[in-house]
Symmetry: C2
Subunit: 226 residues, 2 copies
């Protein structure tokens, strides 16, 4: 056995008691199923996803999936719930005290990063929108709308302070979301155009810079193209 390997093995420090804490099975299996479901829903669509395929990908019998989530629809709702949490976080940096260019650029880069790290989540969400947001209507009309209204005030304040030009906030966010999520949802198209099977880190970076450039300049902010 090589030194490195031996060292690695010895280092798995905590030496947890093999299994632990009540409910850990529930937690582990729900996570397995949710991960598998995200992939199957993303690549096959809601209707195309079968509970059998999800179960197989999770390494569990189909009846087990129904044991934990009841129906396919409830499982789908749970997957969406996870994704919405992921989406909502990054907007925090858009606050009045931030510098507009820094905040917007940071948000865009973070969103592109998410498209690279969690493309399946983006695809599930896109699918949900395309099909009319049957399971997400309330979220859109309340939570998301309020969040955007809040951020709209920040943009207005920036504009009033002469830090940027006024821009319609809904259209600005729409363009940012569309452009950034495009690199997850239409990954295969962008890859084809760039002549790659898979997008590389560099491609995501260049995408982010392009989007940042258009948005900042569009808002009357400085951006130096290198």
């Amino acid at each position: 056995m090589s030194d490195a390997l031996a060292k690695g093995s010895e280092l798995k420090a905590p030496e947890v008691k093999e299994e632990a804490s009540p409910g850990h099975i529930r937690v582990r299996n729900r996570a397995l199923i949710l991960t598998a479901a995200e992939e199957v829903f993303a690549t096959q669509g809601y209707r195309g996803a079968t509970t059998a395929a999800i179960a197989k990908k999770a390494g569990l019998p189909k009846a087990n999936v129904h044991y934990y989530f009841g129906t396919k629809e409830a499982l789908y709702a749970a997957v969406l719930e996870d994704i919405l949490g992921l989406w909502l976080g990054e907007l925090d940096r858009i606050v009045e005290t931030s510098d507009p260019a820094t905040a917007l650029a940071g948000y865009i880069r973070a969103k592109v990063h998410l498209s690279r790290e969690r493309p399946l989540a983006s695809k599930v969400y896109a699918n949900e929108m395309i099909r009319g947001a049957r399971h997400t209507r309330d979220f859109l009309k309340t939570e998301l709308r309020n969040l955007v209204k809040e951020k709209a005030k920040v943009l207005e304040a920036w504009a009033a302070a002469g830090k940027m030009e006024p821009v319609d906030p809904v259209h600005l966010f729409s363009v940012i979301w569309a452009a950034t999520q495009h690199y997850a949802d239409f990954e295969v198209q962008v890859g084809s155009l760039l002549g790659r099977r898979q997008l590389a880190a560099k491609d995501y970076d260049e995408a982010a810079e392009t989007i940042v450039r258009l948005v900042l300049r569009g808002c009357g902010l400085k951006y130096d193209s290198r």
Copy 2:
């Protein structure tokens, strides 16, 4: 009967001989089926679309759908074929002799217009990309890639002539496509954020202007925000 209505009826000028030309049944029914299929594929996804639903929407028995298109997959391919034709046309205005700002703005406005007029086509295409472009890979890697390469040369020429700043063409087109098609694919989301059930003509116009503004300024071109 109102004047307007009567006038409208009388005006249906050509008064074609009730039926006509051999093969007209084939043409008419294929069109009925393709239109119905576009809607069902758009709103239900590939797997979610049933030939029965398509037949019902077309007002024909299911067996008739199979009579004209054979399999569901062949019908889907035919729908995609139609859509790709629609997509490819508008790029014509991006030629070296055009003024960059005029050409790009015109293209963006035309694409937004298409999102409003043919949202279902956009949704079918988005679905196809999300699922990995199983039926469109070849098109992407050959036709679309070559088209973009061609347009890339135009952008380079414009930049070399000092008419605009250099921009990565693939990322520029990706952002334009993402932003414009967003108003078809994520229509329900934009509507929720704007507090409308349906987007109005004004909303599409404002969307187009926002995108034009970001893109032109991003390319170092003038755009006056009114």
